[in-house]
């Protein structure tokens, strides 16, 4: 038996094994979105859940991104069947309330769900302070490259996607992202 040759043959397999082992440590569902830094896809969607004063919008009103220039937009995709959406619900509502009176618009987008189920869910969760809209045919979800719920997009005052978050978003993170955009805008205006 030629041990030296056997050793060399085994050694040549090491890079392949290492490559496959490294592949196992990666989450195949973790996808880098090309959207941050680019203009957000435009949308004009109908309000089905008005939210609460002072953030309420009339039922049936259209929320269009084009008309929200100058405001920071926090766009949250959710569904009544989504368990993780329950975890972030309180955080989103608290953050939205904290920015009441400032140029910040929170919008919930109901994804792959029926309006009545969405309204029932909001009631069950004890309300949602900001308005939610429907997305017929999931066209806006597809335009935003959605692959699950919840997903949250922070859009800056010029309509550019500043940040995308996958999974439940904590209040502190929302506030950090929104604050930095508000401060940057104030700095630019001065």
């Amino acid at each position: 038996m030629n041990w030296r040759r056997a050793f060399l043959a085994a050694l040549s397999a090491v890079p392949v094994i290492l490559l496959l082992a490294w592949g196992l440590t990666r989450d195949p569902r973790e996808i880098v979105s090309p959207l941050p830094g680019r203009p957000a896809p435009d949308f004009a969607l109908t309000v089905f859940a008005p939210g609460e004063p002072p953030l309420a919008r009339p039922l049936g009103d259209t929320l269009a991104l084009a008309r929200l220039r100058g405001s920071v937009v926090v766009l949250n995709f959710w569904a009544s069947w989504c368990l993780a959406c329950r975890d972030e619900h309180r955080d989103l509502s608290a953050a939205a309330m904290a920015y009441a009176g400032q140029p910040v618009q929170f919008v919930g987008v109901l994804y792959n769900d029926i309006e009545s189920a969405g309204s029932d869910w909001i009631r069950e969760m004890g309300g949602q302070v900001y308005p939610s809209v429907t997305d017929p045919g999931a066209r806006t979800a597809i335009a935003f490259g959605l692959y699950g719920v919840p997903e949250t997009f922070v859009i800056d005052q010029s309509g550019r996607v500043a940040y995308k978050h996958t999974g439940p978003i904590p209040e502190a993170l929302i506030r950090r992202k929104v604050d930095s955009l508000l401060i940057a805008n104030r700095g630019a205006a001065d």
Binding site: I31, V32, P34, N112, G137
Partner: protein, 166 residues
Amino acid sequence: MGGSVPVRRGARLSALACMAVVAGSALGQQPVPQPGAAAAGVEGGRVVGRATDTVLERRTTEIARGLRCPVCQGESIQDSPAELAVEMRGLVREQLAAGRSAEEINQYFVARYGEWILLSPKPVGFNLFAYIVPVVALIAGSLVVGLSVRRWTRGAPTSPGPSEDA
């Protein structure tokens, strides 16, 4: 991004190829008729409307086969029954009907989901590994097998010959 991507994509490509062969033989390469399309065909003026509908469906299927379903595991939006995949197929059909080319439609999805959405990566830059490595490995493997066989057969007649005679 890194080294494992082409490997994984390559594996998915071959899996998809197998699936396409199976699906192709089962369906006889006929596009699955859509109920909505049939209705539109009748509405849209008899035979001509039906013919353009069939073409539209075939082109939709072709493009949908190459796009990955975002909520599935390694499945195309053509093969998946998921709601999002159904809506994405609808969007492909809409864009085709609006006169967009396959390239433009693929680009629309790439701009939103990244190149990840394409089941076969474009053969440029780092992606070339996925195309070149299998060919190189096949050639290298054939060489090793060929050389080994030659060495074995060259040594063969001298040693087993006498034992067979005995």
